[in-house]
């Protein structure tokens, strides 16, 4: 080993340690930012180490790639609005996975003949995971952006077709292990993985996106870890594994928050089943006008806001903070209740409210806030539906039975901000809307909240 190789390996070790410290910093909002600086330093060190330690002969492609990537990356970092965070994250899963898949293809093209069996196995995994994550994430991003319809796309025998594609992929993988020089098989494997990624995500509805995002996060990490096995590079294994496990833990948490299994999310086609199965509850929904709602809020002593995906689509995060501050100035105690799967990705609501300068000390998790609803005067539900559906708790026949919910129906009164009278995206009837303590306030969340704030000022 030459001196520059030792230097490179040292930067890799430093990078690995810094990455772990960075994630450790994530355990608290105060230390998180400092942690990320460490990770950035680690990344920079690893890049410099690689450029010095390997025999680079052509700089053109490297400089071109680094510059174009930095420009696009910086543009995304600065200009993407917080409401578009789920799409952006899905896109970057696609980019990361594509890089891993391409490195795999390159390694195959150059070194296929001399690779031992184990390395080929890792290469197969790298290319499969990388390719299916790329197309899967692109579909997810398309659904989140609204380019592809968010409803589950399903057809008869879908699971059979998916299974066949998967089996074909697995067969190609096994043949590839036995015949490393058969490039036709390798490229078939790659193509099948691209197709499988599409098949995997297309039947999944928007409401299940938090789980899908976490899973894709996990796959992208594992693809990077597999790259590490192929190249014999430990920092890749460590960083990839950290990412893979982070995604895995998040998917488990998201599934728990919906009381469903991962297989059910992937192969259940949630939204489509419900539309047929749900029955009308009946009863009347009581409407309330702006002034009465403002009066109710202004004279309450404890108010809890419950945001959902509707808050994000209406971009109403600033409006809700303004209303909350007016109420606080009147002496009302205001809290926010955040359900783990509210929104389209883990932590989506927290980020939106943080953007609007809501201090994180007023954001409460489900377990913390649920005991407080009975002593709450008004619970304001903003564009949330399934996460406050009392059927999940009371009706064992409901399709979301057993899903933990925010128990807003235990509050003294509930105001539901909703775009229209229709059912939510899941198509599930929500008995909360028919309860005597509930009143409905229809309209766009942002303008409703702004008008509410004005009305509160005049009380």
């Amino acid at each position: 080993m030459t001196l520059s190789t030792y230097f490179m390996e040292a930067t890799y070790l430093i990078a690995s340690i810094l990455f772990v410290f960075a994630l450790k910093g994530m355990s608290h909002p105060e230390s998180a930012r400092r942690g990320m600086f460490l990770a950035e330093g680690g990344m920079l060190a690893a890049i410099i180490g690689t450029l010095i330690g390997t025999h680079i002969v052509t700089w053109t492609w490297i400089i071109a790639g680094l510059s174009i990537g930095s420009i696009i990356g910086a543009w995304m970092a600065i200009w993407v609005p917080m409401t578009a965070m789920p799409q952006r994250t899905a896109l970057s899963h696609a980019f990361g996975a594509l890089a891993a898949a391409l490195v795999g293809v390159g390694e195959f093209a150059v070194k296929a003949g001399e690779m031992p069996g184990v390395t080929r196995g890792a290469l197969g995994f790298e290319v499969m995971l990388g390719a299916l994550t790329t197309t899967g994430s692109l579909i997810a991003a398309g659904k989140l952006q609204g380019v592809i319809q968010g409803k589950p796309v399903q057809f008869k025998g879908q699971n059979v077709v998916n299974l066949l594609v998967f089996l074909a992929m697995a067969t190609c993988f096994v043949i590839f292990l036995a015949h490393p020089e058969a490039s036709a098989i390798f490229y078939t494997l790659l193509t099948l993985a691209f197709i499988f990624g599409v098949m995997l995500v297309i039947p999944i509805g928007s409401a299940d996106m938090p789980v899908v995002m976490s899973l894709l996060n996990s796959y992208a990490g594992l693809a990077a870890a597999a790259t590490g096995f192929v190249l014999g590079n430990n920092v890749l294994i460590i960083a990839g594994t950290l990412d893979g496990f982070s995604g895995f833990i998040l998917s488990v948490l998201m599934c728990k928050a919906m009381n469903r299994s991962i297989t059910n999310v992937l192969f259940g086609g949630f939204g489509a089943v419900i539309a047929e199965a749900s029955v009308s509850v009946g009863g009347v929904m009581r409407e309330i006008n702006l002034d009465d709602a403002a009066m109710q809020l202004a004279f309450a002593s404890r108010v809890i806001f419950v945001p959902g995906y509707g808050l994000a689509t209406a971009q109403a995060q600033h409006a809700v903070r303004e209303l909350a501050e007016l109420l606080e100035n009147r002496g009302v105690t205001v809290k926010y209740a955040i359900h783990p799967v509210a929104g389209r990705m883990p932590g989506h609501m927290n980020v939106l409210l943080a953007e609007a300068n809501v201090p994180y000390s007023s954001l409460y998790e489900m377990e913390q806030i649920n005991p407080e609803f009975p002593t709450t005067d008004v619970a304001v539900v903003i564009g949330a539906n399934d996460v406050v559906n009392p059927d999940a708790r009371d009706n064992p026949k409901s399709l979301i039975a057993g899903m933990p919910i925010l128990e807003v129906d235990r509050a003294r009164s509930v105001i539901v901000l909703k775009r229209g009278q229709g059912r939510g995206f899941s198509g599930l009837e929500n008995p909360l809307f028919f309860k005597p303590c509930t009143s409905m306030l229809y309209g766009d969340a942002k303008s409703t909240l702004t008008h509410l704030a004005q009305a509160v000022q005049h009380v």
């Binding site: 990344m43 071109a64 680094l66 696009i72 965070m85 994250t89 990361g96 594509l98």
Partner: protein
């Protein structure tokens, strides 16, 4: 890859998985979105594999071009990922005292 290296790699993988589990299960739900974008940026470390492909000795032009695309996408991931994570974490840093004055103004 000879067996000794493989075994060492499996050790690294297993220990990293364990460490990851320990560290990440302490991250509060509050920070789950920044966590996802941060781990995503960190896994952009596959950039170093792409760099080798794009420019190292012994690779044909075809591999260089694949490497170029990989370097581009991985860099987008690293720069965009860290950039946006920092943007989010800056928002979480804003204290209650900082948010208060604007509220009193609005009340007037």
């Amino acid at each position: 890859m000879n067996p000794a290296v493989l075994i060492a790699s499996v050790y690294v993988f297993a220990l990293a998985a364990f460490l990851g589990y320990q560290v990440i299960s302490r991250v509060p739900p509050l920070l789950h979105t920044p966590l996802m974008s941060a781990t995503n940026a960190i896994s952009g470390i596959s950039l170093i594999g792409s760099l080798v492909l794009a420019g190292a000795r012994g690779y044909p032009l075809f591999a260089h071009i694949l490497g170029f695309v990989a370097v581009t996408t991985a860099t987008i991931n690293v720069v965009g990922g860290f950039g946006i994570t920092d943007r989010m974490l800056r928002m979480f840093g804003s204290r209650k005292t900082a948010a208060k004055p604007s509220g009193t103004e609005a009340a007037k």
